[in-house]
Symmetry: C5
Subunit: 252 residues, 5 copies
């Protein structure tokens, strides 16, 4: 029993991931244009920007298997997902297995949990099985963990950020992807709550570049090991330009 190495998806203990599961989570109309709708456009950014990983669902990972392999960008296979079209308390469907991840050459797996949802139990139990199976194959597990449900008033409150981060530790995630609510001290508390589980921050909706880079600085100052960016990069006019700026903040 020993901790997994995160070497394949970090550099000097820090990380920058390119997330691209929005096609399923939000639909093309909301986030995509004629360029970024193409997985190869994203893969190209990830490759040239030397990202520590690119996040794809099974379908893209399989249909672009050769290009991903050739790019040498570490694949982070997202194992569950949902459309935004469903009403009611959120649940994410398991769309791929750890075995799929191994077959596709993934270097880590991702899994979404909505704590606070009426379906929390089901997602936690699916997660536990995936965690155990991934452990056998020495695949790090990254949990996308967001408070969501009737009782949740503010999903980025100090309390909820820390609760998300801590839950990730308690259930055995290697890395937790959480949101940033704009208050550095709250994030510090969340990072502290996660202890040996590493924290990366979701980039979220496209923001003004200056504002976004300010956030990146605060995030890195909080003890998080990095970010999983998406729209702020691949919706940008100059994705590699903004990438360079983010990386400079992360690695100095």
């Amino acid at each position: 029993m020993k901790s997994l190495s995160l070497n394949k998806i970090t550099s000097k203990g820090k990380a920058l991931y390119l997330a691209y599961d929005q096609g399923l989570e939000h639909g093309p109309e909301m986030d995509f244009n004629d360029n970024n709708i193409d997985p190869l456009y994203i893969l190209d950014i990830a490759k040239k920007g030397k990202y520590n990983g690119v996040v794809f669902q099974y379908g893209i990972a399989e249909k672009y298997y050769k290009e991903i392999k050739k790019s040498k960008v570490p694949l982070i296979l997202k194992l569950n997902g949902r459309t935004k079209l469903v009403s009611g308390e959120p649940i994410s469907a398991q769309l791929a297995s750890v075995k799929d991840a191994m077959n596709l050459g993934a270097k880590a797996v991702g899994f979404t949990i909505y704590i606070g949802s009426e379906h929390e139990e089901e997602m936690l139990e699916e997660f536990a099985k995936i965690r155990d199976e991934a452990y056998v194959h020495k695949l790090p597990v990254i949990v996308w963990i967001y408070p969501r449900g009737k009782k949740i008033k503010n999903d980025v409150s100090r309390e909820n950020l820390a609760y998300s981060a801590r839950t990730a530790l308690e259930i055995g995630a290697d890395i937790a992807k959480i949101k940033y609510g704009g208050k550095k001290d709250d994030l510090k508390w969340a990072v502290k709550s996660a202890e040996r589980t590493k924290i990366v921050i979701a980039g979220g909706v496209k923001k003004n570049e200056k504002k976004f880079l300010k956030d990146v600085k605060d995030i890195m100052g909080s003890g998080a090991i990095g970010l999983a960016v998406g729209r702020n990069v691949w919706q940008a006019k100059d994705p590699l330009g903004i990438t360079k700026k983010i990386k400079k903040i992360i690695w100095g």
Copy 2:
């Protein structure tokens, strides 16, 4: 890990399928007459019209196994289905397995997913298992993917068509069967959203022939690889006549 070949169910990259799962989905009263109620009538059209595949549920595929085999029309086995009699959010029951498909000599499998339904998660998870099993046997997977549920106002809106098509890609379908809402530009956007997942269009209810052929032209102009027709052919007075016209548009 490499993409499946669609050779057995396409010609020169294009496809025309004859769909015949309406007996279960709608009931005989709604769609059938004394001729087309007979699976042999349909199989005869598929054979003489040289369709790239005929879509049957398990029962018909098994009870007409010899005739289907002899016809050499590629069998596309539909693996799930439901009656229209049930109230509430739609869910399609799994009625056959990939193993059934192999036993019946199918060349592809079909699976319905209602994105937006409260049962979306269950259908997505069943799909993922079927996809993995079909992959092992090199059987292409065609997903019938329709937005349905409380939040869905217009299932053929630009946004929903693209969302359906993209979901098919993200979850790893080889071909997605979606509807056409009558706007060519919207369909182009959906085809673009699906990227390496191919799009075929559902023929839908019987239309005026002229109107229907106009639609076929628009559909083929959008980048879709073809159609899965049913009622517009087997409810027509001259099924082979209309077939010939459709094929001329598809293959020129």
Copy 3:
């Protein structure tokens, strides 16, 4: 892959079955008297009347195993059932397996599906598994298929009879047991809808003999292969007398 033989449960392509699952479905108070409450009374009728099969639930089939075997009446083991005491949309519980049927020497299995029920999906999926397993053992599958649920106004309408019969074909039943609504033309349409799946008609509640025999004539004139009778026989004063009359109509 070839069709199952129905030889063991038909004579010259026609069939008369004695159904006796009312003890579970309706309870003794509703249908039974001091005679017909005894399975041996029923078995005796089945034997002397040379029925093509007698329908029992697991418990009776097991507790009267020796007598059933000795009688040489083909056993049709009903695999699911429910009490009438439950509120809400109907679902039938799986009470026996195909393996049980084999152990008990059954010559066919029976399975109830309520199409239109909110639990339709669950019953369809259980059916599909049973069908596949029965196929391996060459056991014919008879489906008791009735429309039931919020959307169903008239379960013996022309539309619903045909829908039931067609569903039986689409899902791969060998024989479908449906109701008769009293209109011969509607039944013909249902028989036509079922195509290669054979139709037998449920006898239903006890009727005036003349009326009942008139129905039997219409049923046989519709293309159905026979009936599954119960109360109209074992509630009759002279069960063998009425049996003889029914058989005369069926086989002439």
Copy 4:
């Protein structure tokens, strides 16, 4: 395929069991005092009273394994149960397996089914699996079968008693434990409805001794093979005294 022997849990075809699952079903406050709260007190009564079986849940059977074994009282392991604290339609949780029963040296297993509950289907299906597994090991199956749920007005009506008893036969129980509503004729009808499934009567709440013994006489006169007593014995001042009186009625 042949019927199980009930020899290990009957004497001359009659039976008296000591039931002690009230700790889980009702809680200690309702039924227990400082004496009868102790399983050894109950085991002592069962041993000295030469009961045909003592009914325990898994926990007691395991924690008092040595004493039970030494006592030579046949163990009837109850396989499911619930607390009375839950609202809504009743369901009994499976707490032990047939394998557990074999490991603990049980001579029969017990299983509760609430017919009429919205969860009837789930209990029936669990029962069927247990029945099949018990059959392999030649362990008799005793079903605690009670009508319960929205539609049930009177759970000891003639109709409901007979329905319970008949259901036990139809599903394949060897013995059914039902209630007695105070009308001997109704019970006779229930016993008749059960046919080859044996009937034992639940003792129920503590009654006046005279009244209780009168009931025992009526029960034995109805064709039931005996009783499963609990509170009327272990809440009595002289448990062995009342036991002797009951046995005298049963065996004469």
Copy 5:
């Protein structure tokens, strides 16, 4: 079949455990400060205080595996849990297996059951499977058992304490962790109700030291074998000081 030994998690038949699953159950904001948020702080108390066990969820047990092993504090792996963010009747998700416990070197496993919850059945059934598996590996099973749900007015009433304790015995737990309602006689009754299942008391929210130590005396006078403390120790200014005082009461 023989009872498990509790030797590895007791001393002279008594026990003091350090519970630390509050990070998942309550979230960091509610219970933690900069010191006690760190699992190593807790482990240090457990080691220096010579606790009979420390309770961790899987994530902490795995990420701090080396330190726990080195500390020689017996690990009690909690196998299920939930966040307090979910609405509705409580259910605890299974987050680790008995196999996980073995891999992590645990000396016992913990499992929460909310009797009275609409999900009681599901938790009871999961528990039964874990109990059987743990039995094979000779791992003691500790059940956190609390009445919770619509029907529960006072979860520490005499009746509910005894019901919790008794349920633990009936279902086969080795040790039951219950609450103390402040009335020694009620607790004595609960301890009596549990018979051979041992009782430990949950420390609960931080109390005035004097009041808390008074409670500990009453608890030990009731027949309970000890306590599982958490906040009253690791929120205290001098955790080892209070530990010493508690131990003096327990072991004299």
